[in-house]
């Protein structure tokens, strides 16, 4: 007999401390999102994939695309020349996986559920670029990193994937085991922005 244990969000215990950083920086964890690793070659049936995802695969390195397809709203991030990360609502791993498998039927490709690897943080607020700049070497100025940018890099020596959604709105993916460390670092780095700037 297996015992069902309730899932615990990796940063559940950090929600209050992260919430206290608002309004300069509002951080909310979105745990348990569906993350599928998609490995496809350029000869893959892009039309069938596009129908499932609601968007084409991002063609440019270091970008992501969003769409609403047969599996609902998804983000597809470029992780490598033949590697993509499909992000969708929690709990739809089996459906999305089988839809993608059907679309890719007979081609050299792979769809792997990697949802347990990362947790997702939504970052927004006027200080978000300043806080990230304390530990990230990437130029996050809107001119250098416009909306639609997706970079894999180091933030405070931790490997992250950073999606730029708008000028001061980011999505940050981090390994679950590194998430408490990164939350502690974010709370520390955001300390000087906590009072409203006048």
């Amino acid at each position: 007999m297996t015992v069902e244990t309730p899932r615990r969000a990796p940063l559940g215990e950090w929600a209050t401390r992260l919430g206290e950083l608002a309004p300069a920086l509002s951080i909310a964890e979105q745990p348990f999102l569906t993350h599928l690793s998609l490995r496809v070659r350029s000869r893959a049936p892009m039309a069938a994939l596009g129908e499932v995802l609601g968007t084409g695969l991002p063609r440019q390195p270091c970008t992501f695309a969003s769409g609403t397809g047969r599996a609902g709203a998804v983000d597809v991030a470029w992780l490598g020349p033949d590697e993509y990360l499909v992000m969708a609502a929690p709990g739809i791993q089996p459906e999305l996986e089988s839809l993608l498998r059907q679309a890719l039927d007979g081609t050299a490709s792979a769809v792997v559920d990697v949802s347990a690897q990362r947790t997702t943080l939504s970052l927004a607020g006027p200080a978000v670029r300043d806080v990230l700049a304390h530990g990230c070497a990437i130029d996050l100025h809107p001119r250098a990193a416009p909306a639609g940018t997706c970079v894999q890099t180091l933030l405070a020596r931790t490997g992250i994937t950073l999606l730029v959604r708008a000028d001061d709105e980011f999505t940050l993916l981090v390994r679950q085991s590194f998430a408490p460390y990164l939350a502690a670092w974010l709370v520390d780095a955001a300390a000087e922005y906590r009072t409203e700037r006048t």
């Binding site: 270091c62 490598g80 890099t153 180091l154």
Partner: protein, 92 residues
């Protein structure tokens, strides 16, 4: 900190990369025909030039792809960066 231009991601800090040694070393056609000395030479002996040197690098904190680079060992200037399936560019 030195910036290394990844062929996919563009210039990134060197801490995102790992070094992979000399590039363009072919695996022996018939390894079992080699003598111990020839096998040791394939495994352990690498060039150590003063000047341009073709090396492998991995963008391990980014796109995790291997690529080749020609680096001047005297100045650490990266003279060329190219994908793993491309031939070594001619550098005068």
């Amino acid at each position: 900190m030195q910036l290394i231009p990844c062929p996919w991601c563009g210039p990134r800090e060197e801490t995102e990369f790992h070094y992979g040694g000399q590039a363009h070393i072919g695996y022996p056609q018939d390894p079992s025909a080699l003598s111990d000395e020839e096998w040791a030479r394939f495994l352990f002996f690498r060039a150590n030039p003063e000047g341009p040197f073709a090396e492998r690098w991995s963008h391990s904190a980014g796109c995790r792809r291997w690529f080749n680079a020609v680096r001047d060992t005297r100045t650490h200037d990266l003279l060329a960066v190219y994908r793993i399936d491309e031939p070594r560019p001619v550098i005068s």
